[in-house]
Subunit: 224 residues, 2 copies
Amino acid sequence: MTRHMVEPDDQPLAGKVASRIREMLIDGDLAPGEKLSEQHVASLFGISRNTLREVFRLLTSQSLLTHIPNRGVFVAAPDEVCVIDIYRVRRVIELGALRAASRGHPAVARMNTLVAEAKEAQKNGDWRRVGTFNMEFHRAIVELADSPRLNACFEMILAELRLVFGQLENNAHLHEPFVELNASLVTLIETGMILEAVDRLEAYLLQSERMVLAALQRRGNQDR
Amino acid sequence: MTRHMVEPDDQPLAGKVASRIREMLIDGDLAPGEKLSEQHVASLFGISRNTLREVFRLLTSQSLLTHIPNRGVFVAAPDEVCVIDIYRVRRVIELGALRAASRGHPAVARMNTLVAEAKEAQKNGDWRRVGTFNMEFHRAIVELADSPRLNACFEMILAELRLVFGQLENNAHLHEPFVELNASLVTLIETGMILEAVDRLEAYLLQSERMVLAALQRRGNQDR
DNA sequence: GCATATTTGTCCGTATGTATA
DNA sequence: CTATACATACGGACAAATATG
């Protein structure tokens, strides 16, 4: 009697709860490898187990949760191997999308805006926002290919990457060097120097991969 | 008391039913756009509605079914726009994987086997099998990149493509020219001529796209 | 435009098999 | 080895949304 008055309940309940849990995951609120009991989580969100199972299906299909038959679901715990794989896919998708880019694509305008916003956040020392804008920037790169399915594939990879970042202590230097690199990338794309942009993006991704791997290993050593 | 004696029941029930429906979809047994009633399908497979909903979640996440809130699920009906998008992604992923290929990769051996099997099926006029081996061949190309996540992305695209083929009348010429092209591709890869292989694969995919689009339009004109 | 029938979305209770303490 | 906890799957129920006449 109360719920449908408060909100239009546009999306199915399962989708909304999935979004909330997804937020918690990329914020690092849930420990990697942690077991999510159906009963516990269902009562936590005030939904039934049947509905929660639909939520779990959604999130496991996005590789944010891991499902083990007859054992339950666990928070995904991406390790070094996963990060290497994630960046392998990033190189294929982002470089491929950039190669297929056409000049004057609307996404280029968004990239400019995102660079400006990232610089603003950088000035304020808000590294969390810098990281978010950076993610958006790379999503814009993939949008250059004008392919909804490629966007969807990349979205999955990006969600997992955000999970990795959520598990890292928020080190400023993880995002800092890439604000300028993004700016130079936009310039290259705007002037039609696509091949040079591809080369720079490839080097960019290799550098980012090394830094994330290093941060991940620091976390690993810290634990024991 | 009986079921667990007959089969190990290894996979969850939902997964097994999903596989069966997936088979029906790629075999063209279900009309595109057809509505799948929960009650009807549940009783058809002898499972409960709750379990069937999990099945639907699985298949919609693979773009084989379309879910419309409060309306139900429908068999996906890929049109020309979808095919164009699918091939856009194929070019990015397959070409990207091929560029990242290393000589002597185990997948190359599988590609040789698949070419031989395709030729055998071609001799027997079994075009259905030729098509299956062709799909496997392209999956092997993506495996060259050694990336589980890239394989998963491609698997989704391939499932949708199979859905398209299932909706087409089984024209032999849709697969016939590609047996030889696959053979030449393996040769190029084995001799380390990756760049040439990339170029040929790109032309290959453009040709395949045109043929599928033409066949799809023939179907569309036939209907009205 | 309205009243009715059908279907989805969600919840509950429960039985059964499985993994872990 | 037993016991407990939990995932899997079932069936029934009801409100809300949709479709139908």
